[in-house]
Amino acid sequence: MASESTTAHPFEDAPNHVTPTVIHDPILTKTDFKRVGTRPLRPDGLDKVTGRARYGADFNMPGQLVGLVLRSPHAHAKIKKIDTSKAEKLAGVKAVITFADMPDHTGGDQSMYDILENCMARGVAKYDGHAVAAVAAVDAATARAALKLIKVDYEVLKHVTDVDEAVKPGAPLVNPKNITEGVEPKPTKPSNIAKRTEFGHGDVDAGFKEADVIVTRSFRTEQTHQGYIEPHACVASVSPDGTGELWVCTQGHFVYRNHCAMLLGMDVSKLRVTSSEIGGGFGGKTHVWAEPVALALSRKANRPVKLTMTRDEVFRASGPTSATSIDVKIGAKKDGTIVAADATLRFTCGPYYGMWAELGAMTAFACYDLKNVRTVGYEVLVNRPKTAAYRAPSAPMAAFAVESVMDELAHKIGMNEVDFRIKNAAKQGTRASYGPVYGPIGIGATLEAAKKHPHMKAPLGKNQGRGMACGFWFNFGGQTCTDINIGPDGSVTLTVGTVDVGGSRASLALCVAEELGVPYEQVKCLVADTGTLGHNDMTDGSRGTFSSSMAGIFAARNAVTVLRERAAKMWEIPVDDVKWEDGHAKAVGSKYGNLAPLSIKEIAAAAGNTGGPIAGHSEIVADGAGVSFATHIADVEVDPETGRSKIVRYTVIQDAGKAVHPTYVEGQYQGGAAQGIGWALNEEYIYGKDGRLQNPGFLDYRIPVCSDLPMIDTQILEIPNPNHPYGVRGVGETSIVPPLAAIANAMSNAFGVRMTHVPMSPPRVLKALEAAKNG
């Protein structure tokens, strides 16, 4: 009986000191490469420099209508009535929909129901920009006119947008039914806290008693947006026979298919989704918003519908990151040993349940080897858009708080900040603050590299300061399906289902070329639509190259097995006597003396006579992603009279496991750093007292422009991941984690001011500088 086979040990935690890591079934098979590690041109590049590449809004279907969405101008309002009759009567209008046209097919799946409600408000508008109705018309002008004819009767409710206000007793309730999860006994009254979570080990209170120095501080970070340049766009077509097509810019067309089919009550197999080229996502294109609406409009109008969000809609009604409020306490001995670390993290989720504080709580102390550590996270509901992932979601805010305190603590005990981190860095065998034990990891190596980096010793100019910080991201793998087909001429088609967000087609082709032993140019990598391959998870969690290369390599191995069999048939010898080497079948043994090796081309040419087409497939769950660490160094110049900051030098050092295409790895490092710099200095959602977003555009949501940044130096470290055939780790996300703290630490080092509120915009910096000046 199950109940007999389980025992609870109350309040007993695992020890921190752990026996050396067991690495089960390592699959790392290669460390010496011919093609992996080179820098060829990407296969999709030409289309992208000539304007030929097709993104979300660059596709059209015959007879297509223009879809537009009506959005709530209120942060929180009961929708008493929606009158669409006048809009429906306008000439040229082919469909008007509200939530009534999107019945609930979610079957009790709360997270899917939340998505449904987020796509189209059901009775209550929960944030400024929440979709309330939508129209499809023959042209944009008609659709705009129709939106104006829809009359919505709102009863405005009290709202709350601020994270600290939302958790106060008596705050307006975003969801009056919300009872906090993860608390025992279960609360009886609703609140805006969706969930409490906790991680850690050891005895934190006892640990602090051993401390010689303790630093405690509270931090706030404002909400930011991924800021992809391409707004969400799709073309949807649903026929009366229940089949549908969707062209869309997304990080995961298979997941979009599954979600849209469920929300629309369609069979998954009847909805074919094609991913366009994607104009940036960074986590923001992992969730559906407009797509189910476009499909519902198309279904009602029986015409294809193109729906493109404006930039204003993207800011108000897609998925920005959390605003946060974080308390950190770390204690250390005089020799630099950290004895206890504690953090409480409050993260906004928008109006729906999320796991954002949870991710912050997991990542906060992940860089360090800690005997006593505890993190507590609270998911906070507010009248803001539903939070979505943004590159290493939640880690940058947690790292901002922790890495700021780490610097302060190092200085208080009189240690160099790098040495202090080296002393406490996690290593292979360390129990991570979030639970498991680490395998081979790179935090120590990035710190040692930072210490030796010339940047660390370069002289600083007037009003300049230097800071450093570390960052962590998990990375993950997930479901992946890949095909390799050998053409009759021996050329290779690699078909993957992970969207290429920034050069992965080149990396994947390199891995398959390496495995098959053929030139890179002989492998063409395609991203398939959902009708062509089995399910693939999104390109998120830095998994695109990690998982699809793993599946691609396995598919290539399967193809090699077939190629060997075919060669054996051509030679009329046993397959065991055929080996694969340098892209050729070779007969093993002196008895075959003069048999010339067979190339893929020769084997492929004979395929019709040896058993038909040659292919290799792989369907896997790509588990075992290696965690990733980075150390960044930032030089910041501050104008002491205006508080304006400029980054004058920046260096990223990060472990890639194995850099498949180093140029694109550098690109990920640089891009993440730039986003982190923007977050640190100027990017923020600004809500008015009325709960409306005041800066829904690129003019006042200030992402860095070219003249804001210096060159961003990169150093790639390669500590192979034992759980990938080539040692690859994800590289996409970690680089956004350290910049916030690195810049704050630089300001502290230059001016002695500790910035605790991000963004460190000029008014905040000037105020801090003046406060410091006035004692």
């Binding site: 820098r39 041109l41 990407r42 999709d44 590049g45 030409l46 992208k48 420099v49 000539t50 304007g51 030929r52 590449a53 097709r54 993104y55 809004a57 660059d58 002008a141 991924q226 800021g227 992809y228 340049i229 391409e230 707004p231 080229e277 994607i278 104009g279 940036g280 996502g281 960074f282 493109t308 404006t310 930039r311 967000v501 920034g502 050069g503 140029t663 694109y664 550098e666 690109g667 640089q670 891009g671 750093a673 730039a674 986003q675 555009g697 690129f698 003019l699 992402i703 860095p704 422009v705 070219c706 003249s707 940044l709 060159m711 961003i712």
Partner: protein, 156 residues
């Protein structure tokens, strides 16, 4: 009421009809099939819709289609000569100056305008010259390097 407009696009005579309040960007994308220019914001803040009008780089979202009458317009589709790429296109590829690529057409047009005026720009001149074009993927490092390299090639 739609207005008939005659103009030159990438050296070809083109006639189109458009509404007077329609942007040049919408005309290019929706009426002429030239979707290389992208709409990132529609308010002149991102530069993804950059084209040249009479030799000057503009945001085509901030130009009316009717204003194109008698003008000469150049778009990213006209950058290459036949199969021969413009040096900027070649260098953007070689330096991996694009990740997602959606800002690339705008950057190419802005960089072309910059180098036509200033064939040997400093890094700072390049950075300020391209400040009207947002890129969220690259951190601009490789874009600046590609423009520097292209400038060198173009100077011969």
């Amino acid at each position: 009421m739609a207005v008939l407009v005659s103009t030159t696009i990438n050296g070809d005579n083109v006639e189109f009809a458009c509404e007077p309040n329609e942007s040049l960007l919408d005309v290019l994308r929706n009426r002429l099939g030239l979707s290389g220019a992208k709409e990132g914001c529609g308010t002149g803040d991102c530069g993804a819709c950059s084209v040249q009008v009479d030799g000057r780089v503009v945001c085509s979202c901030l130009v009316l289609g009717v204003e194109a009458e008698g003008r000469e317009i150049e778009t990213v589709e006209g950058l290459a000569h036949g199969t021969e790429l413009h040096p900027l296109q070649t260098k953007f590829l070689e330096h991996a100056a694009l990740q997602c690529g959606v800002c690339t057409p705008g950057f190419l047009m802005a960089a072309k305008a910059l180098l036509e005026k200033n064939p040997d720009p400093t890094e700072e001149e390049i950075r300020f010259g391209l400040a009207g074009n947002l890129c969220r993927c690259t951190g601009y490092d490789k874009i600046v390097r590609a423009v520097q390299d292209a400038a060198k090639v173009m100077r011969g």
